[in-house]
């Protein structure tokens, strides 16, 4: 069946948009919060991401063919659903703005330190604009095609870096660190919660969603956890915790010391490229979610004409939100992570609770 978006594409997109945050923010946050034992936090994150995936699957299975807003409308009523979607709209707006800032800061830190952020942002806006005109299928296909190559690249990178890992940077750890690693896992959870994008596109999957298709989400979650764990181990094992905690892009520095049998070096350029591609996909997908939220909140039939004014608001908001690396770190650590936890976990949990209460009524409907 020719569907606009499939669960496989959602899974690929979930992994692809998570990559930039896994590479850039996660090792730094885990190192500063949990120290040497921080690489165990991705393991603990499973305790939150598995129930979330189960909730997403439950909602998709309970309301086949309905999107996030329609599901909410069924569960909590139209007025409350609109209010919640309006809050989601603000959260997505903040997430896009932060992503644009992170992208321009990455470019300045890695490849072009003398170039102004206006330039990077203008280019990104043009690219996103072009991708949006082409349609969501193009964006999903892009991530589907690119993710495989990216994962192979990481596999090669990790094989080359295996000998450079220092055990004394990772061990010893003891039960004293248990609490800090559990607390730090919120930084992994806040990235892993991106899986809720499946709910926003749930109406595109069609009425019949098979178990095999839903299994793709579990595969995505498993890959995410493994990737987060491996990248943290390599960042900590090669650069050490103190350096990782104090760098804006620790994985970039880690990769600098890796070479492929002394033949090929400077993998860091590829890491930057992967980050940029991931940021591009994230901004595209969040822009689509933003437009969907605008459509739901204001009952619009079409919203293409709002692309330019919204792009302008996002562009200038990046300056008002955070402009330096220090400000961005603060924003990410104290605001974005906590907001992610609310909108990615608490709201779906409440919806799942309502779904559980109304399960008999739902069974009669379908």
């Amino acid at each position: 069946m020719n569907r606009e978006v499939t669960l496989r594409q959602i899974t690929f997109m979930y992994l692809f948009i998570s990559i930039s945050s896994i590479l850039r923010q996660m090792p730094q946050m885990l190192a500063s919060e949990a120290g040497r034992s921080g690489y165990l936090s991705p393991v603990w994150s499973v305790l939150a991401t598995v129930p979330l995936t189960a909730i997403v699957i439950l909602l998709i299975k309970s309301y086949p063919g309905l999107n996030f807003y329609e599901i909410m409308e069924q569960l909590i009523g139209k007025v409350l659903a609109k209010i919640v979607i309006l809050l989601y709209l603000l959260w997505i707006f903040l997430a896009i703005t932060a992503k644009v800032t992170a992208y321009s800061l990455t470019m300045q830190f890695t490849l072009m330190p003398r170039t102004k952020s206006d330039f990077f942002m203008a280019i990104m806006i043009v690219l996103v604009f072009y991708a949006l005109i082409r349609g969501i299928k193009t964006i999903f296909r892009f991530s589907e095609l690119t993710l495989g190559t990216v994962l192979v690249f990481f596999a090669v990178l990790f094989l080359c870096a295996m000998t450079r890992i220092r055990r004394d940077y990772l061990l010893p750890i003891s039960t004293i660190h248990l609490k800090s690693t559990i607390m730090a896992s919120k930084y992994v959870i806040a990235i892993g919660g991106n899986i809720i994008i499946a709910l926003f596109f749930a109406d595109k999957f069609g009425i019949t969603v098979t178990k095999q298709q839903l299994r793709k989400l579990w595969f995505g979650l498993g890959t995410f956890t493994v990737l987060a764990f491996v990248i943290t181990i390599f960042s900590f094992g090669i650069s050490g915790t103190s350096l990782t905690a104090n760098l804006p892009f620790p994985f970039y520095i880690t990769v600098k010391s890796i070479s492929f049998f002394n033949i090929f070096e400077r993998f860091e350029v590829f890491v930057t490229l992967i980050c940029i591609l991931s940021d591009f996909a994230t901004i595209c997908i969040f822009a689509i979610l933003l437009m969907r939220c605008v459509t739901w909140v204001f009952n619009l039939t079409e919203c293409n004409f709002l692309y330019t004014p919204l792009a302008m608001i996002v562009f200038y908001s990046t300056y008002y939100l955070s402009s330096t690396q220090f400000e961005f770190n603060y924003l990410y650590q104290y605001i974005i992570v906590n907001l992610n936890l609310i909108f990615q976990y608490i709201v779906p949990l409440i919806l799942a609770f309502f779904c559980f209460i109304k399960r008999k009524k739902i069974k009669q409907q379908y």
């Binding site: 079409e302 302008m312 402009s323």
Partner: protein, 62 residues
């Protein structure tokens, strides 16, 4: 950038005027977001060194 954005806003209005003017809601939203964006742009143009929201939050939360 503000000149480019202003031009694009006018261009979008001319290209998609049928859609924008077909409903009062569409027109109101278009004006609201355009004015909002332009206001942000003008404020940035007048004072590019305004303290960011994060700085204000950092001070407030300490």
């Amino acid at each position: 950038m503000i000149y480019i954005f202003s031009f694009t806003i006018i261009y979008t209005f001319i290209r998609q005027r049928e859609k924008i003017l077909s409903k009062k809601r569409n027109f109101a939203l278009y004006i609201l977001f355009s004015v909002g964006g332009l206001a942000l742009g003008i404020v940035y143009l007048l004072n590019p060194y305004l303290p960011s929201l994060t700085t204000a939050l950092e001070k407030y939360m300490k």
